[in-house]
């Protein structure tokens, strides 16, 4: 089995790094792989709540690095998928508690335990980001279709390439197809032209993501959500299979609503 270490980063905060990490990890585990996801945002941990595992934390990443516990003790098993694990970030420390070489050493050990390691990077371009990309085989940059997020993504891509961790893959998150159609939102083509990197997924805006985060159940487990489907497709692409991109036509338009009603038998 190939070991793959994937770091998800963005530069800008709030674009969906943690949501993407939780969902891609869950989708990979759902397909049967052994997956460990790691919250590298020391001091501002959140991957635990998105996965609904906040009540099970005993040890964290800094405890492992500083030798207060064994790796296995800090790996929290997911409630739903027995082959999915979380190593949470420490909440009462800061990013300087860990160095890039600590991370490389830690991940080398984690790799022996699983097929995939997913690292949720903190926002920014400082120590926490450096820690998160140091052990990566693949760096995934996530952005939103807005100027500030794309600008920060470009900066991050430059830094990742300078560290020789390229080629970077791109996830475009929270796209609103109806706004793109109206030419009031940057389109995937616009963004790809400017960033000039490989796209591995477009995730449409979906209010079900908010509900799923409220409940601590990743959206990929919801078979009806479009965002969930988009994240499942990203996982499949990371597994090396080709999946066509979702058809993100305006699903709230009158005709598509009617046609969906007909298809689902008026339900």
């Amino acid at each position: 089995m190939t070991n793959k270490v994937i770091t998800i980063t963005s530069g800008k905060g709030g674009v969906g790094k943690t949501t993407a990490t939780a969902n891609i990890a869950t989708a990979l585990a759902f397909d049967g792989a052994r997956v460990v996801c790691i919250d590298a945002d020391i001091g501002l941990r959140n991957l635990d709540v998105v996965l609904g595992l906040e009540n099970r934390i005993v040890y964290d990443l800094v405890d492992v690095v500083e030798g207060r516990c064994r790796l296995r003790q800090a790996m929290i098993r997911d409630k739903r998928l027995p082959n999915l694990f979380l190593i949470p970030a420490a909440q009462t420390r800061d990013k300087t508690a860990v160095s890039p070489s600590d991370m490389v050493r830690l991940i080398d050990e984690v790799k022996t335990e699983c097929d995939w390691v997913l690292i949720d990077s903190p926002a920014g371009i400082e120590r926490g980001f450096r820690n998160a990309i140091a052990p990566a085989n693949v760096v995934v940059v996530i952005t939103n279709p807005e100027i500030s997020a794309v600008r920060d993504a470009d900066r991050i891509i430059g830094l990742v390439e300078a560290e020789e961790k390229g080629p970077v893959r791109l996830i475009l998150n929270r796209l609103k197809p109806e706004l793109v159609k109206r030419e009031d939102m940057l389109s995937p083509d616009d963004i790809l032209e400017l960033l000039a990197i490989e796209l591995i997924g477009i995730v449409p805006e979906d209010e079900k993501v908010i509900l799923s985060t409220n409940r601590g159940i990743p959206i990929v487990l919801d078979g009806k959500s479009q965002a969930g489907q988009a994240f499942r497709n990203i996982a499949t692409r990371l597994e090396g299979q080709n999946v066509p991109f979702l058809d993100l036509e305006d699903r709230n338009g009158f005709f598509s609503r009617i046609s969906r009603m007909m298809r689902s038998g008026g339900n």
Binding site: I147, E183, L186, L194
Partner: protein, 92 residues
């Protein structure tokens, strides 16, 4: 804000187009770590150096930054005045 007629007459670009154009410029300067002011200085100095050796019309010089994948390229278009005119100007 644009009115319906502005849009109808194509007087205002859609916001996505504006975003893309603004982003394009911002990325150019971010990537080469050169602000617009420094780029202007570079242009002036370039003109000065070249005109020491050949006769050029500074007003016709066109210097721009283009994107080729993730690489930035500085393109300079410098029309050179015919040597005949140069000589005749010297004679005046």
């Amino acid at each position: 804000m644009s009115t319906f007629f502005d849009r109808l007459l194509g007087r205002e670009k859609r916001s996505a187009k504006q975003a893309k154009d603004r982003l394009k410029l911002v990325l150019i300067h971010d990537r080469i770590d050169l602000n617009p002011g420094t780029l202007e200085t570079l242009k002036d100095e370039l003109i000065e150096v070249i005109s020491r050796h050949v006769d050029i019309d500074p007003g016709a010089v066109h210097i721009k930054m283009t994107q080729d994948g993730r690489q930035q390229r500085l393109i300079a278009e410098i029309p050179i005045n015919p040597s005949g005119r140069r000589r005749s100007r010297k004679n005046v």
